[in-house]
Structures are given as C-alpha cells and as structure tokens.
C-alpha cells in the first residue's frame, strides 16, 4: 500500500511555473465517480467482501486526489454528458476551485476508506453502511464538479440523502432517529434555499449552466437575496451558528469513519458551495455581505469552541469543534470579501488562501481525530470521556496519533493548524483603513474572537486528551481497553504524518492553492517554495514570516537537550509508585480531575450567558440513603430562541391545515378550479 499513502498527494502538487500542457483531468474524475457508484452497487451484490470494497474505494479516492492535485493549475476543462434532463444534459467542469476541493474529498475519502478496511469489520450491520459510503463520496465529488445548477442541486441532495442513510445506520441506538430527523429537516431546508438561490441566479431566461449565470450576474436586490439564500443554504450544511443544531447530533450518530467524512469532507463541500456562489457566480461581494459573514464566522468559531469545551461525549465534542473550525474558515472568507469589496486585493488573496488552507487542514486533523475517537469507542466501548482515562498505556498508537491531532487542531506549531490560523491572523492584522464602520468594528472583533477561540480550543483538547488518555481508568472497559487494528492505525499514522508535513512545509499547500485564488481574485500570493529555508512569507519579510522547519528544529533540539540533561543529571532508575496524594492514599479513580471539573471555570465565566447554565446542589433528605450531588442544567440558546418557536408554529399551522385533508371530492375540485381561475386572473391582470 506504499503508493496509497495520502502523503503522496500534497507532494505531487505542481508548482505554478511548469504548467505547460496538462492533460484534461475531467474525464478521469468522471470515471472515478462512475467507479464509486459501481462500488456502491457492487457492495450490495457482494455482502461479505467489505474489506475489498473499502480497499477499492481507497484507490479510487487516491485517484480523485491525484486528479485534483494535477489540475489545480490546469486550464478549465469541461465535459457534457448525455444524461439527465433532455435540454440541459449533465455539464461538468474542473476548474481550479473544483480541483482545490477535490483534494479534501480524495484525501478524506481515501483516509476514511483505508481506516474502514479495519474498522468496518467491527460493524454490527455492515450492509447498512458499506453501500452508502462510496455513494456519499461520489455525490460530494459530483457536487464539486457540477457546472450547472441542476447537477449541483442533484448532487447536493444525493450527498444529503446518502449521509442521512449513514446517520440512520445505527437506528436502534438512543437518539439516532431524532438526530436523523433533525438532519433531514435541515438538509431539506438547505436544499430549498439553494434551489431558490439558483433560481434567482438563472433569472427568467433560465440559463442554468454556470457559464450562463456568469454571463448575466445579478445586481442590486437580486444579488443581495442570492447572497442571503446561499449563506443560509451552504451555512446550514457547513454548520454556521445558528444553523448548526443538527451537526452535533448527526455527525456523532454515524459510524466513526463516516463521521470523519461528514465532518472533514462534507462541510468542505458546503464551503465550496458558498465560495462558488458568492465569489464566482454572484459576482464581486459587497461590504455589508462581508460584515455578515464575519459576524457569523466569529460567532460560530467562539460558540463552537465553548460548546466543545462543555461536552463529555467524545464524538460530539469533535462535532462541536468542527463548527468552531468552520467558523474560522468563514472568518477567512469574510475577510477576503471585505478586502475584495474595498479593492484591496493582496489582503483578499491572503485571507482566501488562509481559508482554503484551513479547510484542507481541518479535513486532515478532524479525520484523524474521528479515526482516533472510533478507535477509542471500539477499544474502550464508550464515547463518554468521563468514563475513560489511562488509555495511554492500553492504546499507545492511538494516543500518539490523537495527541498529534489535538496539537494540530489547537493550532500549536509546528503542525498544520497553526499555519492556517496564523495566516488568518495575518490577514486580520493587515487591516488597512477600510471606509465602512461595519467592517472597522467587525474585523477587530473577529480578531478577538479568533484569539478566544484558539485558547478555548486548546483548553478543550487538553481536557479531552488529558481526561481520556492520562490519569487512571475511570471505568472497567477503560481499564481493559485494547489497541485498534493495523489498518486503522495505519490511517491514523498517515494523517498524523500529514499534519506534520503540512505544518513543516506549508509552502506546498500555499503554492498549490495560488492558482485557485488567482482564478477567483485575479492575483496570487508570491511563490513560497522557492524561498530559502522554506519560510512562509505571505506579505513581506519585514512584516512577518513563519518557518515551520526552523520551529520544528528548535522544538526538537530543545526537547532533546532537556531530555539529555535530565537523563545525564537525574536518576536513570525507573520505579512505579503511587501518585502523591497529600498523604491520604485513595485508590478510587473518582479522586482525579473529571471532565466537568476541568471545564468548570470556563463554564462559570461563559455559562450563565451562553448556555443559561444553572447549578443546583441536590441534597438528600435527612435519613435518605443516597449520595448528594451537583446537578447542572444548560441549554442551547439556538434551540430555545429559534427552533422551538418555529416547531411550535409549524405544529399550529399544520393542525389548522389538517381540516383540508377531509373534504369532499367536489370541494377539492372547487379548490383546483378556483386556484386555476385565480392564477389566470392574476396573470391576466399582470400583463
């Protein structure tokens, strides 16, 4: 499997200079989609060969990754298939933006399938999972390749439905049916708003191909409406606050490799949809749109991190952290829109590069973390970090991979998460004198929120890793946990290595994304790889630069020196002894820090405001033989403020409308007749 390494992808990225004659990669990509669909059908016919199906899907995803990587700087290639609607057919095209998002799909898909070769064996009902995974990946690829609105919306809905089936794969577990229902409602809502957005973009002439839409870009009120609808539609899929409520329910409900696909890849397809509509199809953004995106991004990042910090369920924690990272990506996009609307292209280029890079990075480390969560779930049998502990001894490989992922997602150098967040910060600090007050206020606010988010995310992952892997086991399954299989370990190790590579040599990603950015904004960042010592200099050397290699060398050498000194001067004899416990040895694991106690200070600070947290002491009555305790109540304001009222209102209206289900045939005919006449009358008067 040497050539299957996901590491092969980024190192294959070509520089922008040597792009002479590129073969058109659209056809191989389309064949990849066909192959994935065939695998999906094949897995139904071969119910016992799941490992082979996943292995084949891994290879196809690697081919997708290769297609994306080689066509980043290639000219746009299109393909028209004689399928679908008779007039429009199926139009596909592979431009740099699509290629940039083929990479997360190929990479995340390959990783998830490689992981699933081993992990899928533990599945109780694999027939509910296996056929939908290749279908899901194929739908995401098709959504990215689509060059007309029909294909895009079809692929978008197919992606939603395939992932819905995967969320429902374990329908007997508590809450999963509810999660799938909420997911389906939000997916339908997202599809509906995008349908309206494309309807407005196509206009009355009905030019549904992207080329026709670009030729007649909307203006004024229509453009504003398209922006709002696209933000709602793509934001609901990506998990923007307050449209995020389905995400922490649905992502953890699926099997872990699917959670990795949903969190790591599907949210990127949503980001792609946003970029495609707002930057490409709907024309240059306006400043107030940028302010809205900045506000939404900042709120999403901070709230996602806060929620993640409060969560005890390992996979829900990761899902909330996905929301946080989507917020960071949208902050980058909002900055790019703000700079572009004011004609400050270098800033827009930096911000957009940072956003795209962070999206790619998030695919890598969130997939890694979900793989690790799956390994923990399989090894220790629980997702509740309050029942884990001490896994470092039982699952050393998972521990190492998860630690790398935690460090990367907490934006610690020299890993990849740091680079993209650092570039986002550089874009914020670059803030020239923008004339609009909305942006003048919003950009520094986002800077503060981003700093807060980074700190909260670090605290969240220290908590997660510390509680789950360090200390003593808090339950019997955790004490007897076992390491996961070789395929899963290989997938985790490869992604951990990728975190390091992208952090050490970020230039390959930044240079690879340059043609994408220049296709959208007209300019690009200066080439980074040619620079000496592989430094990353986004603006100019006098302002700021980052050298991952140097940081890594410094960290490694200082660590080695400290270790050498400690070994030289300290005692080399290892002995195991009880932890120091103030002189009162208490063997019970409850005496350790718990997940709640670790997050309590932050809950005290933010909880009353953001979660409406209340803590009450539950004291047993005198003479009652039970333990007392502290009960904590917290609420999600998005549910209370938005969804519960909407659900109530929908319930009332549907109860009222229920009466029209019980009319006579003649009344129905009368309805049809009157509505027909009313429509004709309206049209006649309209003329």
């Amino acid at each position: 499997m040497g050539h299957c390494s996901p590491r092969a992808g980024p190192t294959d990225w070509p520089g922008a200079e040597d792009m002479g004659h590129q073969p058109e990669m659209i056809e191989p990509t389309a064949w990849c989609i066909a192959a994935l669909l065939a695998l999906s059908a094949l897995s139904v016919c071969l119910p016992r060969r799941h490992g082979a199906i996943y292995a084949a899907a891994t290879l196809v995803c690697l081919a997708l990754l290769w297609c994306g990587a080689t066509s980043l700087a290639a000219p746009v290639s299109g393909l028209k298939l004689p399928l679908g609607l008779p007039v429009t057919g199926v139009t596909l095209s592979l431009d740099p933006l699509a290629a940039a998002f083929l990479i997360p799909i190929g990479l995340g898909g390959a990783g998830a399938c490689l992981y699933a070769i081993g992990y899928g064996q533990h599945e109780a009902e694999p027939a509910r999972v296996v056929p939908f995974v290749p279908l899901f990946i194929a739908a995401m690829t098709l959504a990215v390749l689509a060059a007309d609105a029909f294909v895009f919306l079809f692929a978008w809905e197919l992606m939603s439905l395939a992932s819905w089936a995967l969320v429902l794969a374990r329908h007997r577990e508590d809450g999963n049916i509810h999660a799938a229902f909420v997911y389906l409602v939000m997916a339908v809502f997202s599809g509906l708003t995008l349908l309206l957005a494309f309807g407005l973009l196509a206009g009355t002439e009905g030019g549904f191909t992207f080329g026709a839409i670009r030729a007649a870009r909307p203006t004024g009120g229509t453009a504003a409406l398209v922006f709002v609808l696209a933000t709602i539609g793509a934001g609901a899929k990506a998990g923007l606050v307050p449209l995020h409520v389905w995400l922490p329910l649905a992502h953890p409900a699926a099997p872990s490799h699917v959670s990795a696909l949903m969190s790591g890849v599907m949210t990127k397809v949503a980001v792609y949809g946003f970029i495609r509509i707002v930057f490409d199809l709907a024309g240059p953004p306006v400043w107030w749109e940028a302010a809205i995106v900045l506000a939404l991004g900042g709120a999403t990042a901070a709230l996602g991190a806060l929620h993640a910090l409060m969560e005890r369920d390992l996979k829900r924690l990761l899902a909330y952290s996905t929301i946080e990272n989507i917020g960071i990506v949208f902050i980058g996009l909002g900055l790019a829109m703000a700079f572009q609307s004011n004609g400050f292209t270098p800033g827009a280029v930096l911000a957009l590069t940072a956003a795209l890079f962070h999206a790619l990075n998030h695919t890598v480390f969130k997939s890694l973390l979900f793989f690790g969560a799956g390994a923990v779930l399989h090894g220790a049998g629980t997702r509740d970090i309050g029942r884990l502990g001490g896994l470092i001894h039982r699952m050393p490989w998972t521990h190492a991979a998860m630690l790398t992922g935690c460090a990367a997602i907490s934006a610690l150098p020299p890993l990849n998460g740091f680079v993209s967040e650092w570039m986002t910060f550089q874009a914020i600090l670059l803030r020239p004198d923008l004339p609009q007050w909305g942006l003048k206020i919003m950009i520094p606010v986002d800077g503060a929120l981003l700093a807060l988010t980074a700190a909260l995310a670090a605290a969240c992952f220290v908590r997660m890793h510390g509680i789950a892997f360090l200390g003593r086991p808090r339950s019997e399954p955790a004490a007897t946990a076992h390491e996961t299989d070789a395929w899963s370990t290989a997938a985790m190790a490869l992604f951990a290595a990728l975190c390091l590579v992208l952090g050490l040599v970020p230039g390959i990603a930044v240079d690879g994304l340059a043609p994408v950015v220049s296709s959208l904004l007209g300019e690009r960042l200066p080439p980074q790889l040619g620079d000496k010592w592989l430094s990353l200099i986004p603006i100019s050397a006098s302002r700021s630069s980052y050298n991952g290699l140097l940081v890594f060398l410094f960290l490694a050498s200082s660590t080695m020196i400290v270790v050498a000194l400690a070994h030289r001067f300290g005692s080399s004899a290892t002995r195991r002894a009880p932890a120091w416990d103030c002189g009162f040895p208490d063997p019970r694991p409850e005496t350790q820090y718990t997940a709640e106690s670790f997050s309590q200070p932050i809950r005290r600070v933010f909880g009353a405001l953001v979660f409406r947290t209340r803590e009450t002491v539950d004291m047993p009555a005198p003479g009652e033989m039970r333990a007392g305790g502290i009960v904590r109540y917290s609420r999600d304001l998005a549910w209370d403020g938005i969804y519960t009222p909407i659900a109530t209102y929908v319930g009332i209206v549907s109860t009222r409308l229920n009466t029209i289900q019980f009319l006579t045939i003649r009344r129905y005919l009368t309805f049809v007749f009157l509505s027909l006449v009313a429509l004709l009358l309206a049209l006649a008067l309209w003329q």
Binding site: F662, I665, L669, F673, L676, V677, L680, Q687
Partner: protein, 220 residues
C-alpha cells in the same frame, strides 16, 4: 390562411364553446349526454377542418378517433349506464343555472382576456383556437364543480378533454403519438370511472358523490 377557412375554423371552435354552455343548462342526464355527443362531433369537425387546412393527414386520424370514441361510443355507453341505473328521469339539483351561466360567461371573458395578449405574435387561427379551447376547459371544470352526480362529472371531464384536444390540434406540428396517448388515457380514465360508477352504485344505491363522503372514516 384565407378568410373563409379562418372563419370556418373559428366558427367550429365557437360552436364548441356554445355547446359547453348548453351542457351547463341541462339538468337531466340524457339531454346532457346528447350535448356531449354533439360537443365531440363539433370537435371532430374542427379537427378535420384543421387537417384539411394544415395539410396534415394524421389529424384525420385524430378526428376519426374523436368521432368514433367521443361522439358515439362514450355517450352510448354512458346512456346505457344511466338507463341501467334508472337515473335517466332524475332531475339533478344544480347550483343555480343562471348563476352558473353568468360564471361561465365570466370565464370565457377571462380566457380571451388572458390568451389574446399572451399570444399576440402567434398565428391568428392558433390564437383564437387556444383562447376558445381554454374557455371550453374552464367551463368543463365548472361543470364538474357544480354537479353532484358522478355521471355529470364524467361528462364535465370529457368536455374538458375535448377542449384540450382543440388546443392541441390548433397548434401545428403536434405529434400523432401525443394525441393518441391522450386519447387512450382518456379512454382508460373513462373505463375506470365507469367501473367505479357501478361500484359506487352497488354500495350506496346512488351515484351522488356526497354519499362517498359519508362512507369515509376519520374526521367529518
């Protein structure tokens, strides 16, 4: 198209509208079925005239289908049904003939007002044909809405379908396969409705659709 042929096609289409009005006026079933037969006959004449003026021989087939099935077979079968059910002497309680006629006139005005500006650039024959066809369709719907008897509703449906055919043959280049499929779908609908009529009759001893409503479970 020369003046006389335009006038003739216009007259035939207008004749259809007039017959639709006549249908609204009939309160007993046998005369209603007679008018339906006349309606279909006028349609087949109109289609045949279109076939002649457009030099489209396949439209003669359509005209023949209309004549055979709609003008002869369907009214004959319906009449037998009515007689077998013994409702041929019943007087149907209609909403109010005067009111219905006024509504129908308003519908004709609406369809002319709606269609003529919309098709301003089209061939004048097509314009008139489509506008009159729309009024036939609307009057057919009105007939279905105002009648309680299932047989009269079938008649309304048939006249509605005649209107659709009129519009379709007015437009040039309508493929034969579409017409045939429309004719067959109507035939099948007719058979299904006929079967249902007897089933309803068996069960409820009446073909008043109001009785269906009473039978249904759930909320009233």
């Amino acid at each position: 198209m020369t003046g006389i042929s335009f006038d003739i096609s216009h007259m035939l289409a207008g004749f259809l509208v007039l017959l639709s009005f006549l249908m609204l006026y009939q309160v007993r079933l046998p005369p209603l079925l007679n008018v339906l037969a006349a309606h279909a006959f006028a349609l087949s004449l109109s289609v045949a005239w279109q076939a002649h003026t457009q030099d489209a021989p396949h439209l003669y087939i359509t005209a023949a289908i209309a004549l055979l099935f709609k003008a002869i077979l369907v009214p004959w079968v319906l009449r037998r049904m009515v007689v077998r059910m013994g409702i041929h002497r019943e007087i149907e309680n209609v909403v109010g003939i005067g009111l219905t006629m006024l509504a129908a006139m308003a519908l004709v005005a609406l369809s002319l007002e709606f269609m003529l500006p919309l098709t301003a650039k089209a061939d004048p024959v097509v314009r008139e044909d489509i506008a009159l066809a729309l009024s036939v369709v609307l009057i057919g719907l009105l007939l279905m809405v105002t009648r309680r008897n299932a047989v009269s509703q079938v008649v309304g449906f048939m006249s509605l379908e005649n209107g659709i055919n009129l519009a379709a043959t007015g437009a040039r280049g309508m493929p034969l396969v579409v017409e045939i499929s429309v004719a067959f779908s109507v035939l099948i609908a007719f058979i299904v409705i006929g079967v249902f009529l007897f089933r309803i009759r068996e069960r409820f001893d009446s073909v008043d659709v109001g009785t269906l409503h009473m039978f249904r479970g759930g909320r009233q």
